[in-house]
């Protein structure tokens, strides 16, 4: 054993514990950083020269301590499960947002929703039946018919607007996804070179994991560890990112129907997306169109019920009634001829111009459109309630997963403080060791040789 070898042991201890202190500092600094995984220094005793050579003298003691890498504490299986649950959570939340939007257009029960307007319109026919000769009752029927038709059209265009907004938002999300996949592949590249150079890459990995969570939420992406520290991104069985190359995605809307799909830019094939994007596609292609169809059915029922009686009856002058409601490019409207002249409202079941109101009475007894409307409101209500309950359940699952992730990867300040103390003591001990060695040498050099 050389007389100065001990200094080296002390030095390795000082260096190792200084670096451990740095890692503890890093952990404490990131105690509140989203997506940060706590890091641990792996210390390893240095065993000394492995192959004895001519000048290498090995006396059996080790030669200090060495840092054998800094690891992120992270459970890969838990991460994979987290991605899945986050994706489902994002999907349910987006579904709930969309159905909530539809629900707000069916604002019931209220005094001014479509239900009230339908009732008021039908009621105005009852007043007309009681006084078919009065212009005021006729004008009221026309007024309320016009208001009702406008309200139905308005509700439809509101739904259409929501559909457009959802499509825009999806396009926006997909362009962000394209940015993220590019970043993802760039990070793959940097991590590979860092690994090759032996540089630390833990923070880069944390960044990449954070992107992975976002991609899982938006697209329901799956992640597979590839070669040389790279992580590949899959949509179902389709490759989105492989090592350093990323595919681009694009939202395509079918002309006419406006139905959307997410496709690969390179070859135009459909991507099998999940997460929020899947919910958006379902909302745009199925949910909103379904309620538009239901609204159209209500309008048709209303027009059929009123028109059937109206065209078989006679107006104030005794002429056969015309259709009360007609359908234009924007949906149901009042017949402009009837709208312009309230005397064209057909209240009489008998030709020849008289004060019979039995046709109006017949219309005032119609309930079909109101029944259909009630059914639709219930369907919206049930769907919105179910969506909201699913979100609540999934929120609990996500909470558990987050707790489990925290339990593995999160920073506990108390724990770090304890480690800090232990490391501090170790550092002090190493320093003390060097000073003792110094004293020993002092004895040897200054006192012995006089």
């Amino acid at each position: 054993m050389s007389s100065t070898g001990g200094f080296n042991i002390g030095l390795t201890a000082l260096i190792a514990h200084r670096q451990t202190l740095d890692v503890i500092g890093q952990n404490l600094a990131n105690v509140n950083t989203e997506g940060y995984s706590r890091q641990r220094v792996n210390l390893k005793p240095d065993a000394g020269p492995i192959s004895p050579a001519v000048f290498s003298i090995y006396d059996g003691t080790g030669s200090g301590v060495r840092i054998n890498g800094i690891t992120r504490l992270r459970d890969e299986f838990l991460e994979a499960r987290a991605h899945q649950e986050f994706a489902y959570d994002a999907q349910l939340n987006r579904t709930k947002e969309l159905i909530d939007g539809v629900e707000t257009t069916f604002s019931e029960p209220s005094d001014n929703g479509l239900g009230a307007l339908l009732g008021d319109f039908i009621g105005s026919w009852s007043s007309l039946a009681n006084s078919p000769g009065e212009l005021a009752s006729r004008s009221q029927v026309v007024e309320r018919g016009e208001t009702l038709a406008a309200a139905i059209r308005n509700q439809d265009s509101n739904l259409q607007g929501q559909r457009r907004a959802a499509t825009d938002q999806l396009s926006n999300q997909i362009s962000q996804v394209n940015l993220k996949t590019r970043q993802f592949s760039a990070l793959n590249d940097r991590i590979r070179s860092a690994q090759a150079d032996g540089d630390p890459a833990n923070e880069l990995r944390d960044q990449r994991d954070q992107l992975a969570v976002e991609l899982a939420q938006t697209l329901g992406a799956r992640f597979v560890t590839g070669t040389e520290g790279a992580v590949d991104v899959y949509l179902g069985a389709q490759v989105l990112v492989r090592s350093e190359s990323a595919e681009e995605l694009r939202v395509a809307a079918a002309p006419g129907t406006g139905n959307v799909s997410v496709n690969f830019v390179r070859n135009g094939t459909g991507a099998s997306v999940g997460g929020a994007a899947l919910a958006a596609i379902q909302g745009i292609n199925e949910v909103i169109p379904r309620y538009r169809t239901e609204l159209a059915a209500i309008a048709t029922k209303l027009a059929d019920e009123v028109n059937a009686v109206h065209t078989a009856s006679y107006d104030r002058s005794g002429n056969p009634g015309q259709a009360f409601f007609t359908f234009g490019p924007n949906g149901i409207t009042m017949n402009p001829v009837v709208r312009a002249d309230p005397n064209k409202v057909a209240a009489s079941a008998i030709p020849g111009g008289n004060l019979d109101g039995s046709a109006a009475r017949e219309i005032s007894r119609k309930t079909g459109a109101q029944k259909l409307y009630g059914d639709t409101v219930v369907r919206v209500a049930v769907e919105a309630q179910a969506a909201s309950r699913r979100v609540d359940v999934q929120a609990n699952v996500v909470k558990q997963i987050e707790n489990a992730r925290d339990s593995t990867s999160g920073v506990n300040v108390d724990e770090e403080m304890a480690n800090l103390l232990a490391t501090q003591r170790a550092y002090e001990a190493a320093a003390r060791f060097i000073s003792v060695l110094d004293e020993v040498l002092d004895t040897l050099v200054n006192r012995l040789v006089r």
Binding site: P109, N130, V378, V382, S407, V413, D414
Partner: protein, 297 residues
């Protein structure tokens, strides 16, 4: 062992506070709006019931308005027929007097004049209007049910449009009108012709007075029968109004049960939730204060 981290504890604490606050804000929304259901998904079946009740209420109000309108119409018909009967009664008295042999030609002329005046007032009664609608013209769009000459111009009974109905229930419509012939006799045999004939008889054909007395009796019977019909219909109408009133009360109660909140219960719930929220807050404050740092020197 599960490691607990500050961030995790913080999140759990925030989640709990959030959940508690959410319940509190929902209760507050209910109390502020006074309603249990603020959107359909709050309670799908509550919403259906609320929609149905509101619809029923609107219809009941229509029936009520129609029944009230019909009752007014029937009351006016009733008053008109009562007055008509007085006129016919007076005519009958006059005929009975005229048949007394002591009445001279001058008095007969006076009686004939009075009969003509009675006929005119009866004609005016038969032309009574409700709003701008002739009471006895059926659904015909005419200014007067009877012309000055006493010819009926309204819808003939038994033809289309002789009925005026009021919808007073989902499946019940009540007739509210009488056509002129139904109230005053068939054209040619009506009370106006009878009175004209009576005036002529008084002046020039005393032998016809016997037949005129019969005619007066017939007119009286006809109008009494009409009055009885009107009275029966008015009764029915009143029953319907009462029934609708009762139904309205039931529906209003049902609607309130479905839509509105019990304020005292809701206030109590808010108080309880407030206590829970405060407990969560104080627990949060205590837990997040403890740290090893406090005990290190």
């Amino acid at each position: 062992m599960t490691r607990v981290t500050e961030r995790g504890a913080n999140r759990v604490m925030l989640d709990n506070l959030q959940a508690s606050l959410q319940k509190l804000s929902r209760l507050q929304e209910q109390v502020a709006s006074g309603r249990q259901i603020n959107k359909p998904s709050d309670s799908p079946d509550g919403t259906v019931n609320a929609l149905r009740y509101r619809d029923d209420l609107r219809r009941i109000d229509q029936y009520k308005a129609s029944a009230q309108d019909g009752l007014d119409w029937l009351n006016i018909t009733d008053t008109t027929l009562q007055k008509g009967l007085e006129a016919v009664g007076r005519a009958r008295t006059l005929v009975i007097q005229a048949r007394n042999s002591t009445v001279d030609a001058g008095s007969r002329e006076g009686m004939a004049k009075e009969i003509e005046a009675l006929r005119d007032s009866l004609l005016a009664l038969a032309n009574t209007k409700v709003g701008d609608r002739s009471l006895f013209a059926g659904t015909a769009d005419v200014a007067f049910a009877y012309s000055g000459a006493g010819a009926y111009q309204g819808t003939p009974p038994g033809t289309a449009g002789d009925r005026i109905d009021r919808q007073v229930g989902p499946d019940s419509a009540l007739r509210i009108n009488l056509t002129g012939p139904e109230a005053f006799g068939a054209p040619g045999a009506d009370v106006f012709t009878a009175l004209s004939t009576l005036a002529t008889n008084l002046r020039s054909n005393p032998n016809g007075l016997g037949a005129s007395l019969d005619a007066m009796a017939a007119a009286n019977a006809q109008m009494r029968a009409a009055l009885a019909t009107v009275g029966a219909r008015a009764n029915q109408m009143n029953l319907v109004i009462d029934r609708n009133e009762a139904a309205r009360l039931d529906i209003t109660t049902g609607l309130a049960d479905v839509e509105q909140i019990d304020i005292s219960e809701a206030t109590l719930n808010i108080k309880l939730q407030e206590v829970a929220f405060q407990a969560a807050l104080s627990a949060a404050a205590k837990v997040s204060r403890n740290s090893l740092m406090d005990f290190l020197r």
